[in-house]
Amino acid sequence: MDKAEIKKRLNDIQSLPTLPPIVSKLNEMVADEEITAVKLGKVIEKDQVLTSKLLKMVNSSFFGFPQRISTVSNAIVLLGFNVIKTLIVTSSIFEVMQASDVGLFEHSLGCAAACGIIAKRRQIKNPEEVSTAGLIHDLGKIVLRSELPEEYEAIVTEAREKGRYMREVEKERIGIGHGEIGGMLARQWNLPERLVFPIEYHHKPEQAPDFKEIAAIVHFSDILIRAVGFGNGGDPWVPALDHNAWERIKLTKSQMKEIIAELDEKLLELQDFTLEIKVEG
């Protein structure tokens, strides 16, 4: 299979659950400048299942709001529409992932938590957006796994056994890496570039056309969460650090120490969260 064929196949994804119809309605509504968070919230709240999933995610520890968020319109005000939209768009994907690959789910949640901690320290305006980018940075792997399961299995096995990075093996075997695949899909779903670029460039953040700082945070968070050994991102290896990206977000030794301690706390809470999901099914 060549790259063009893979792209065609990914454009016409069959195996993943379709986007909830509510997404296109929300997109239309957001295009209207008069729209308010309360109105948007009301539309989302008509779907009770979606609402409860959404509230569970926004109240989970990787966003880390001290007070419980109890309504969707509050969530929109606090987290911003980009975050809420992304959570809605990806909610069905994460369900697939929870069922088929808990390790990758945990890796994603952990990366989101690390992104949030670093983004807050760097006083980025909407740190929850960076967390969300971290949450979906490996979207491409989920797609690969469900669309090309045999290739995915072979890629993971080769990466683990031969001590190689997944993205290298992906490029060799199918001509495209999971970052690029995730970026394609995120674009197809009309997610904003602030989220698309960090997904697409999480292994080469300096090449991102824009939002290099967010891309750098996702890049380093992916490294950090693998370094800690939480979850399973496919291959077990800590990825190479892009030193130009590191210059952008550089942390001192004592800051790093604080971040490790903070992350540790969050990961314990996340374990409870994933346990809850497993129990509730």
């Binding site: 950090l224 370094a227 650090l241 790093m256 409870d272």
Partner: protein, 113 residues
Amino acid sequence: MQRIPIKLAKEGMVLAKDAVTPEGQVLCGVDTSLNEELIARLKRQGVLVISVQGHPVRMPGELSLSEKLKELDKRFSKVQNDPVLRALKHLLGEHLVVEEKGAEFLEKLKKGS
């Protein structure tokens, strides 16, 4: 600090964080030393997990400290020449030691070497 399910709580363990119900209600403050009566009360009130000082329980499947350090090494095996990541690995190793043995142990270890 270790987070353990309430059913593994034992008399003499000391809370490293407040014991809270899943609804977020604080029942027992940090630094409280647990006794049987207290543990029973926490269970009754629906507390599921607590954080205790040190690392008193080895969970099934949980690695020992030296195994954890070995795994850490293995994960970093492809980036050993990167000075930034080497420093990160070092910090994570220290963190693992402190989590299990406490800060004083690490200090002694540093002085010794």
